[in-house]
Amino acid sequence: MRRLEEVLHDLADQDKPLPTNELITRIERHLSGESDVPVVVEARLEMDTHSDTPRTQRRRWLPVAVAAGAALLVLLAVGLPVLFLSSNESTVAEPSTTTVASTTTVAPSTTVASTTVVPTTTPPTTVQPTPAAPAEVVPFPPSELAVLDVPLSEAVPGFTDTIVMTTWSVDGFGVMRWRSSESMPELLLSLDPTGSGWPVGLDASERWFAQILGADVLTVQAVPTVPGEPSRREIVGHDVPNEAVAQAVWHDTEPGRLAWLECPNFPDGPTTLITLDVSDPSAEPIRLRTFDQGCAGNPWGQDESDAAKPSVTLERWVSAGLWVTKYAEDAEGDVTWGFDSSTASSVLVDADGNETPVVSGAGMIATSPGGTSIWRGDWEDPCFVLSPDGQERSAVPGVADGEELGQAFWSPDGTRLALFLNTDGGRRSGDTVLRVVDVVSGEIVAELEVEEPEHIGPFAWSTDNRFFLYTPEDGTSAGPTKLVFYDFTTNTTTTIPIADDLLEIQVR
């Protein structure tokens, strides 16, 4: 990882800085229309003053381009394959070398509040043989993630749930299930060797797994009864040109109920909300309703424009209905989200497609399993606990002045919130506090400070509200390396080392 950090520094230092006033002069010249030359072209002409390697490379390619063009003309005129080959030989550039400036960086130390670190055993060298699989299924060794000496329930006393984890590697997605009675997770599915899929996850019964493929096709496949057994996936969302399945969610509690958004002429609207009961072989997709807005980006964020468009997103599917957030144009005609102001509203769509407005305003909405919700404005705005009809009940407790709420997640019983806070008003690493508050009493139940350079990765509540599972990530790594169980009854944590491929965790 140190080497990775070094080369990233090297990449960042490769282009020499311009004097800032020169940059400003360039920008002003373009603003005033003095230059008819496109910015990037002009900049390339000027680059020789501040870049060595690209200049050399370009100069080498100038005759290459000329020679290739000339060779093409000759080829077209004469049509002799011999000349074609000769042209090829004459235009091969000599490889160049450059010296890598190595930067020495000391990796910051990390601290995690933990009382127990569970030792892991060396992964077994013999892996269960996997039966011959069709192309879409690849073996994914379960031992990559975590292996304990004892069952999970012994390593984490009191923990009785099953953890479902989505992992990722260059081989594709892996879906693993870790029962508390087992010492290691088991493989349920390994998917999509191209890595171009987007996991929607397992349904409430853990019998079906859905994913959106890179071509914007929604697929569902049954989870095999034997781990690692091949499973054929079926397309449920349409594979129509210019039409994309942008987002999908399973029902929180009802098995096999899947909802998704489809957008013709992606990413522009209108958007259609569709549901399907995959547990019923005779069921057909139900087009619940359409929205004027488009789909909010595709799962991979491959939006082509700088500014977002009016859009809708699926939040979750609870017993009260489907929570949908709609982003509209603001007074200035802009629609942005994430790091800028936006105009958002949340609606609840029932089984008949009827829409009930719930919350309006800017910001993020998080819905508890029971349908209670939390709303916040922009980063600095106050946050409120809302009742299911959208009425403000109270300010979110546990957020002090100067602190910014990054995310908030309800406990399954809807009485507690896990708050991810930035304590210095900034949005940088090292300032994250994970604070759990009781929204009824307003008391802070627990506070876990994640020290620099750590962040918190995937997390989840246990079903009995007793544990909060989270994954601190070393700031110098690309993924989490441990899974922490915080026990509210004993105020202790148990840490289990894991591999760094974890994308999501769910507790069932």
Partner: protein
């Protein structure tokens, strides 16, 4: 849409550019394509932002907005580069194939701009994935996947470096 921005930057915008430029230049240098210059991306990002928003001061978080614009520009360059390579290939001439860039740093640039952007923001600038997702206009998990993919690709190049050194 033509910008309503005056021809000169005001003092606050100048100060903002001075403040943001050093970090944006390093970021752009990390995500740019081979043979390009990160300064060009920074300059283009400032210009596009000013033209589309009329002023840099109209943004709540200009640093994040500009980083996202830089990544989008790098992606545009990547697509253009791919089209160029295809065109050269159809002409029966040697394309400006990136494989000709045999030195290490340029080889690292074969990793997608998005993956490099995520890794840089994560490992060098220290942002959480949630914020990186917001910055780049993608989900947190998408950012994680991009980081994981990029890390493995970069590590593959680095392990080749080690193999070459020990051969």
């Amino acid at each position: 849409m033509r910008s309503k921005h005056p021809k000169k930057l005001d003092e606050r915008e100048r100060q903002l550019i001075e403040e943001l430029y050093p970090s944006l230049r390093r970021f752009a240098s990390a995500v740019r394509l081979p043979g390009e210059d990160g300064n060009d991306l920074v300059q283009e990002a400032f210009l596009r932002t000013i033209r589309s928003r009329d002023s840099l001061m109209a943004l709540d978080n200009p640093g994040a907005y500009l980083r996202r614009t830089i990544v989008n520009l790098a992606r545009d360059q990547q697509r253009s580069e791919a089209r160029r390579r295809t065109a050269w290939s159809k002409m029966g001439s040697p394309s400006q194939d990136l494989s000709h860039y045999t030195w290490e740093l340029e080889e690292l640039r074969l990793v997608s701009p998005k993956s490099r952007a995520v890794l840089y923001l994560r490992i060098i600038e220290g942002w959480p994935y949630a914020d990186i997702g917001e910055m780049l206009g993608c989900s947190q998990i998408s950012a994680r996947v991009a980081a994981s993919r990029g890390k493995r690709q970069l590590e593959a190049v680095l392990s080749k470096e080690v193999r070459d050194a020990t051969a």
